[in-house]
Structures are given as structure tokens and as C-alpha cells.
Symmetry: C2
Subunit: 549 residues, 2 copies
């Protein structure tokens, strides 16, 4: 089992140090500490384990270190920044692992950009040597790239000439869309194995700053301090500690404190039940801070995040997520009110941004999501996003025979109208109602009301509202039908239907680049016994099928 | 060899009739006239041959029938509109053929939308029965869909439940982005084999109009006449005839009247040399009309279009296109001047829109394009777009030793600043200079000048400007290197680098949907001996690998 939980005390690959308002995240990959056997993580090359630590560090910097306004990513090696994803690891990995690995590394790069853009914690890359493939892609996700001008240090994306695959972590999109490198220069750059260094790297917009060796450290810390000075994060506030998750994993179940995940392997589905808060919302921001990471929305966000990663990587044969909740909208709404009223507080901002990222993770998870709204559920506001993120939502009309007097309700809040945008830059409701934008306004008028199934259906917020007589059969048939379809075509279908409307760098990376990459990861030129990924390092040149499709 | 040239006299699958300003394009597929052996084109199912005729008809309607303001697509069959791409044909086709087939059908659907949007020739679908898969996708590309309400007629996208693939002709994107169908309803729709009919099809925005059987023909012709009335196309102008292309095909060469294509199979490249006009531009629009399809820019457009299709489908192992030209910019510019000064004339508009489509076809061709600007070439204005459409462009600095006094030049015109946008909605120069938009303005100031290699390089219009000493070696090494790379990774690289900037429905279809589809067309769930495409119709249910990636 791949565990996404870690702690700086256990890091094998990264060191963190602090200097005033700047954090230094130093990549120092332990070559013998790969997640699997069979490869050595030479030259700061990485596998999923290295990236799990990076993800952990990025999260902690936001919650535990409010004073940090800039983060420098650097290397502990001499003349090597990072060699990218480990090729031997890729060569021996299954298709599913490769794809999921790339998806997670992409999400972590996006989280870095989210920190720079929305959390006033700007990232800088200090490239002291070769930054190849995923190494340069990591740098591309930072706000500012400083390259040492020592005649050796270079940036490169050698995937096409060396490996017959594509840069897997948004490199191509970030080249032409983020850094706006001219397309013909990008074409040249992506076919030069050894990469580009010095003045040309600067002129081609591949890096932001070029500094002689003697001034390198000085320039990096100056720039970092400058960025940190501009941060709106509080210099004096204490952070909160992200403690270990409360989690019990058994054969077919994962029990968290706010979330229960039950697998049905025969039906290939996971039921995710959100368990509403067991106590009232704190009344003030101070009370909230004193709860630290036990504040319910944060606790649930972390647990849901972990559950999604677990299901993706460790349970690839689970095809459908059935999302439910237990609790009361009243109680949820009190938490929401506290968050919304203090949205400019640094910690509240972090919690909301974390929810944004977790919901986005759900959006790009290659599993069908069905949300069921039943009596006793608490889909209010930010939890209602789980209805709009779903491929379909079903809500009980009327009562269950055995639970008379209880009705399913759905409640909207301001959370559904702005703070939690999708990767396409607009809200889930805006995306849902592209064809009738006035429906978004009408929904806004319903904020705070307990909507019945009939009302929710009329407002277009759910897909179907079966009654007690039909409910069980309809859900059962739905789940049976879904698991009878081809997993691949469902993945493609969902990826295409979920992201209508505007496109952003992020949707391009997930929707376009990762699709091309999935395709290439299937092609014999890359992955057969005689493909480039297998033969890399053997001295034997792969023989390619020249057919162009 | 697949021939893209045809003529209504030879059509096997379509009939065209005219009534006042409306054309009726009737699908009547000859089941025994498939392009290959091994399948029958039942129920108006189609293969590439059917679509080649459709493409031909769409082109001719624009050039030969200026009076036509609306086109109705209908079926000759009883209670069947179109069953989509023939499954047996897909099952027996190579991966490359499937992908190229889908790309061409997509381009033809886009050409239909281009006619509606830019040529004032609006398309209507008259769905008299079942419109399944590609059948409904054809309808989705039209401006207005009328469905008969007879309790039988339906629209459907049954690819996922029946075939384990995705709708291959933009169906998913057009559902949620063009018709803005709600994503959960789209999910339901795409999993119902038998599709959706009647009122629900209308409510879900799947069709625009629902008409009882008795009023169907009447409603269709009323709507068509209404659309035709709104057209700005001239009711009285005579059209021009698209005559057979002058083309000689030999083993390694295709000779057109304005274009020479020479293959080097060892190096896997095709050299495309544009041969400049052999006569001066006509002086007036009347003179131009009298030349009909022999007017040089139109002749070249048609020949280049045919050459690209030929190279894609018949020469899949050719990986690189080397584009050259012979002629003088002066002469080209005179043609451009005539076009630009008469851009509101219906025929000029058609010629420019045709060039737009042909250049877009080059943009999405899965082959590397290198443009070489040498002494004696004529890359002016619309031909200069072949420089900006290329993955790289090389221009000779100085003279060739054996041709003293001749210099390579490049000339910009208004054609480079608006009339020929890419699929992303902006010009190639705007896409090129996303990172320095002021470079577009600076380029505009250079309109009409003969730019030297040095000037073109300084303006960022070309990639490299080697001199006589380096030229041959540099080009030779470039071509050798390119053909040493994996064809698949080059396809992915180019698809990602070519389309920076905004996204449109078209870029989504080519960049995202077709990538997902390529991937799925490789997956055993769809294409193995036990995959859905192979087993379709056998009564045996495919057994799927449930792994989600």
C-alpha cells in the first residue's frame, strides 16, 4: 500500500530550513529509499515517494508556517538540480501507476502555483546545475527561476529524444502557455537532449534570471527575501500543526474521524460517507485556531484528500465512488458562516484553498462519482459541491418507508458561488449551467433554504429524484450498469464531460497533455520490450515504428 | 490509395437537390460501396468513402452554389437518419486509419460549422429516425436540429455502453460546450444505448425543435427557407465550377499544377514545393471570376488540401514535411491585393475561408513541418503563414555560392494579421508572440517590405538563419535527427506546442478529445480480440479489465 501520509521527521528526500520569512526546501534524494525495489534514485531523480514528501512539505508550509512568504526549491547536490522522474522506475511501472504518478505530481505542481498565486507564498527555483525533464518541470511550476551561469547548469526536456514519451508534469503546456516560449524555440528546446544553458536560456524565456556562480546564493536569498517582503501572510501569527490523521485501514474499509470509506470489491465501488461534525462550530476565530487541525472542515478536508489518493493509487479496480453524508445542514452552516465571515484570515484562507484543491482532485479522479442525497444527510454549501462535482446526483423524493418524517434536503451557501472554483476557473454551478446562466442567479436566491428533492430537481441541482418505491432498485441498477462499462471509455467520457466552458493551463494539462501522454504510454515505441523506456541506459537504440497517427 | 477527389456524378452515398435557395443533402448510403472489403454500410452507417463525398458536397455548395443560403441534411431511409461510423469497418481498421478517419470527419464537421458561421450557408439536420453515434454527431455540427416526434426517432451516443470507445467526431465536446447540455444529463445520455427521443431530447437541449410526423417535411422546409432568407449570399450570382485537379501521381511524387510533392522514403520526408503563379494576377474581380477555379490562390489551396490528405492517409510513414516555394513575392502580393480589396465579395470570402481551413488542416496534421526560405522563394502574406504554421522555419542568410546575388526574402501582408486565424481563434503570429504581444505590432509595421534573413530573425519570424556554409549540413542533420525520434512522441509534442493561448471548441476536439480517443483506441477493452469493437454484433459480451487509469 502506498501511504500518502508522512512527516518531516521521516523525510528521506527533502530538508527544510528557515531563515526569517523564507523557507528553503532542499532536494536531497536518498538513492536507496525508492518506494519500490529495482531502481536507484540517482542524481536527485524521483519516484512517487519523493513527491509525496514534497506534497507534504508544501501543505505544511502553508498551515504550519504562516510567516513564510517565499519558498526556495534547491538541491543539495553539486552541479545537479534534479534529473526528473526516475526512468528505471517508469520502465518497470504499470501503465496505471505511471498515469497516477503523473497525475499526483501534476497536482503537487499545481498546489505550488496555488500557493504563489493565492496564498502569498511564492516559490523560487534555485537551479545550481542540470535540471532535466521533471526537474525542469518542477522549476516551471515555481514563480521565478534563477539559473546559475557556470557553463554547466542547464534546463532541458529530453523526454522526446531520449525516452519516446512526453514531459509528464505539464512541461509542454507551461513552456508555451505559462512562460509563453515561442513555439518554434520550444520545439528546438524539446529536442535537445543536453538542454539549454546560460544566456540563451534567459533569452528564450526558459528562466527568469541568470547569475554567476559567485553571486548565486546571494541572489537567491535576496530575491527570496524580496518576495517574502511582499507577502500578505502574517509575520507573527503562530501556525497550526498538521497532526497524524486518525485512520484505521482494514481489508475493505478505511475509517477516518469524519469519513468512512467502505469498499464493495464485487461491485467495484467505494462508498464514501461524510460524518458531520460531532460538536457545534467554534464561535470565534480564536476558538477555531485553538482547535488547530481538529477544526472539523480542515479535518474532513485532509481525510477526504487522503481517501481520494488512497483509492486512486491503491484501489485501481474500484471504478465508482458513491458519496453520502450524515449530519445536519444547520451545524454545517454554522461552520461555513465562521469561515465566510473570516475569509481574509490567513488560516481560513488556507482551509478554503485546501478545499478548493481537494475538490479539484476529485474532479480529475478517474472514477465515476455519484452523490446520493438521502434523509439525514448534510449537503450544505461546501459539502453540496460534492453534488455538483459528481457525474450524477440522486436525491430521495419523500420519505423512506422505514424512516417516516425524515426528508432529504440540500442547502446552498456562498461557498457554491465563488470560493471553490474548478480548474476551468469558474464555479461548478457556472459550469453546470453554461446553457442557462440565469439558473445560477436563481440558485443564488435559494441560499440558506432547505431545498426538497422536488425543489432541487426544478432548480437543476440534481439529476434525478426517485421516491422510496424506486430508490433502491434505481441505485442498484445504476451501479451495476456503470460497472459493466469499459473502465477506459468511462475515464475518457468523464474527462470530457466534466470540464465544459473556459480552458486554463490546468485544464490543458489534465485534459490534453495527460491524454496524449496516456496514449504515448501505451505505444510500443515507448513501452514495449524494444521501446525507449525499457532500453534507456542499455546502450541499445530503440527501433521505432515510424507510422504517424 | 485513398482518393479524396470525387464529383457528384460519381457519388454513391449522397444525393443533392435544390429548391430555390435551399439545398437538400440526402444521405443514402450504398451498403455495397464501402471503401474496403469486409463490411456492409447498413442503416446509413459510414466509412471514410462516405465522408469524402460529404466533404466534396460541402465544398461545392460553397463555391458552385452562391445562391444557397441553407442546407438540409436528411436521410433517404425510413425511420433511420444515420447509424454513425460503421463498427465492422472500425473493428478491422488499423489504429492509424481509425485516427486519421476521425480527424478527417472532424474537419468536415468543422467545415460545416464554418459554412454556417462565416459563409452564411446554414446547415439544418432533419432527423427522421434514429441518429446514433456519428449520426448524431453529424447533426451536432449543424446549426439547427429538427427531430420528428413519432415515438421512434431518437438521438444517441451509444459508444461507451456498446463499443468501449468514445464518440469520435466531437460529440462529447459539442454536447457540453456547443449545446451546453448539463454535464450530469450528458452523462446519462451517453450511457443510454437506445438514446433519447421526443420531449426529453428537447428539454435536455439535445435537439432544437420537435415536430410531429405529419408536419415534419413542412417544418423542415419552412425553417430552411427562413434561414436562407437571412443569408447574405448573392441570390443571383453564378457559381464557379470545381473542376478535376491536375494531378499526376507516381511512385514517389505527386505533381500538381501549383505544387510538387516529392517523397524521400528513406528519410521519411516529403518535400512540398509551391510553384508560384505563372501569370500575373487578374486586375479585377470580374477577371478573377472568369478564371473560375483556375485562379491561382484557389488552385493552390485545393491542391495543397489534397496533398495534405493524401500524405496523411496514404503515406503514414512520412513523418516530416519540408515546405518550400518558388516564385516572386511581387506576383503573390498582387493576388493578395485583389483578394484583400474585394474581401466582401462572396467568392473572395470563400477563397480566403478555404485557405483558413487548409492551413488549419496543416496545423492538425501529425507530421513535423519545417519551412525553408531560400533565394527564389515567394513566402509572401498568405504563403508566409506556412512559415508560422511550421514547427520551425529556416531562412538562408546571404547567398548560395552557386547563385550569387539572390537573397531569400519574406514578406508580410494583411493576411498575416487577421483573415487566417488558427483553431484557437487568434492568428499564428499572435499565438507565436503570446509572450511579447508588442512583437505582433512591430511585425505589422513591416508589412510589404522584403525582409532579409537577418531582419526576419530579429523580428522573431523565423527560427534560424544559417548561411551558405552551414545551410546544407544544418538542414540535413535536422532532418536526420527528426526521423530518429519516436513518431508518437513527436505527434504528442507537436500537438501540445502548436496551440498555445486560448482554447475553442475546435482545439478541445482536436487537442483533448482526439487524444483521449487515440488512447482508448489502443486499449484492449476496445480493440483486443476480446474487446468491444471486435465482439460487437457477435452476441458475446466483452470482458473488460476494470482497472481505472
Amino acid at each position: 500500500m502506498i501511504d500518502f501520509q508522512t512527516h518531516p521527521d521521516r523525510y528521506r528526500h527533502w530538508q527544510i530550513s528557515y531563515s526569517d520569512r523564507v523557507a528553503y526546501l532542499t532536494m536531497s534524494v536518498d538513492l536507496n529509499a525508492g518506494l519500490s525495489e529495482g531502481y536507484e534514485l540517482k542524481l536527485n531523480s524521483y519516484d512517487l515517494g519523493v513527491d509525496i514528501e514534497l506534497y507534504d512539505a508544501v501543505q505544511r508550509l502553508r498551515f504550519e508556517r504562516p510567516e513564510i512568504g517565499a519558498v526556495v526549491i534547491q538541491s543539495s547536490l553539486d552541479r545537479v538540480f534534479c534529473a526528473g522522474a526516475n526512468i528505471k522506475m517508469l520502465g518497470q511501472s504499470s501503465h496505471a501507476h505511471k498515469v497516477n504518478f503523473c497525475k499526483f505530481t501534476n497536482e503537487t505542481r499545481n498546489a505550488i502555483e496555488d500557493a504563489s498565486e493565492n496564498s502569498s507564498q511564492r516559490y523560487i527555483s534555485a537551479i545550481n546545475g542540470t535540471a532535466a525533464g521533471g526537474g525542469y518541470e518542477l522549476a516551471l511550476s515555481t514563480d521565478h527561476i534563477i539559473l546559475v551561469d557556470d557553463g554547466n547548469a542547464s534546463v532541458s526536456l529530453p523526454e522526446v529524444p531520449l525516452l519516446a514519451v512526453l514531459p509528464g508534469t505539464g512541461g509542454l503546456t507551461r513552456l508555451v502557455d505559462k512562460r509563453k516560449v515561442r513555439r518554434d524555440l520550444a520545439d528546438v528546446f524539446c529536442t535537445i537532449e543536453e538542454g539549454i544553458k546560460g544566456q540563451r536560456a534567459l533569452e528564450w524565456r526558459l528562466v527568469d534570471e541568470l547569475v554567476p556562480t559567485s553571486q548565486f546564493q546571494q541572489a537567491v536569498s535576496e530575491r527570496a527575501n524580496e518576495f517574502a517582503q511582499m507577502s500578505d501572510r502574517p509575520a507573527e501569527a503562530p501556525g497550526i500543526t498538521l497532526t497524524s490523521l486518525q485512520r484505521e485501514i482494514s481489508a475493505d474499509e478505511v475509517d477516518y474521524s469524519t469519513l468512512r470509506v467502505v469498499l464493495d470489491r464485487t461491485k467495484r465501488l467505494a462508498e464514501l460517507t461524510i460524518i458531520g461534525p460531532d460538536a457545534e462550530s467554534p464561535k470565534s476565530i480564536e476558538e477555531m485556531i485553538s482547535l488547530g487541525d481538529q477544526f472539523w472542515p480542515l479535518r474532513l478536508g485532509r481525510e477526504l484528500d487522503d481517501a481520494l489518493l488512497h483509492l486512486r493509487l491503491n484501489e485501481t479496480e474500484i471504478g465508482t465512488l458513491v458519496v453520502k453524508s450524515e449530519g445536519t445542514s444547520e451545524r454545517i452552516q454554522a461552520f461555513e458562516k465562521l469561515l465566510l465571515e473570516n475569509s481574509d484570515h490567513w488560516l481560513v484562507r488556507e482551509i478554503i484553498l485546501y478545499w478548493k484543491r481537494t475538490l479539484k482532485r476529485l474532479d480529475v479522479t478517474s472514477k465515476t462519482t455519484f452523490t446520493l442525497v438521502e434523509p439525514g444527510s448534510c449537503f450544505s454549501g461546501f459539502l453540496a459541491e460534492l453534488i455538483f462535482a459528481a457525474d450524477r446526483a440522486y436525491m430521495l423524493e419523500g420519505e423512506f418507508e422505514d424512516r417516516p418524517g425524515e426528508y432529504a434536503t440540500l442547502r446552498l451557501s456562498d461557498f457554491n458561488f465563488g470560493p471553490l472554483p474548478m480548474a476551468n476557473g469558474i464555479t461548478r454551478l457556472q459550469t453546470r449551467f453554461l446553457g442557462e446562466p440565469e439558473a445560477v442567479d436563481r440558485a443564488e436566491d435559494l441560499i440558506g433554504q432547505d431545498l426538497s428533492a422536488g425543489e432541487a430537481l426544478a432548480a437543476g441541482l440534481i439529476t434525478y429524484a426517485p421516491d422510496d418505491i424506486d430508490w433502491d432498485d434505481e441505485i442498484r441498477l445504476l451501479l451495476e450498469e456503470r460497472s459493466s462499462f469499459s473502465a477506459d471509455s468511462l475515464t475518457g467520457l468523464e474527462a470530457n464531460l466534466r470540464f465544459a466552458g473556459p480552458e486554463t493551463m490546468e485544464t490543458k494539462i489534465f485534459g490534453r497533455l495527460s491524454a496524449w501522454q496516456n496514449w504515448i504510454f501505451q505505444r510500443p515505441n515507448a513501452v514495449s520490450e524494444e521501446g525507449a523506456l525499457q532500453l534507456y541506459g542499455s546502450g541499445i537504440r530503440p527501433k521505432y515504428n515510424p507510422e504517424r497517427v
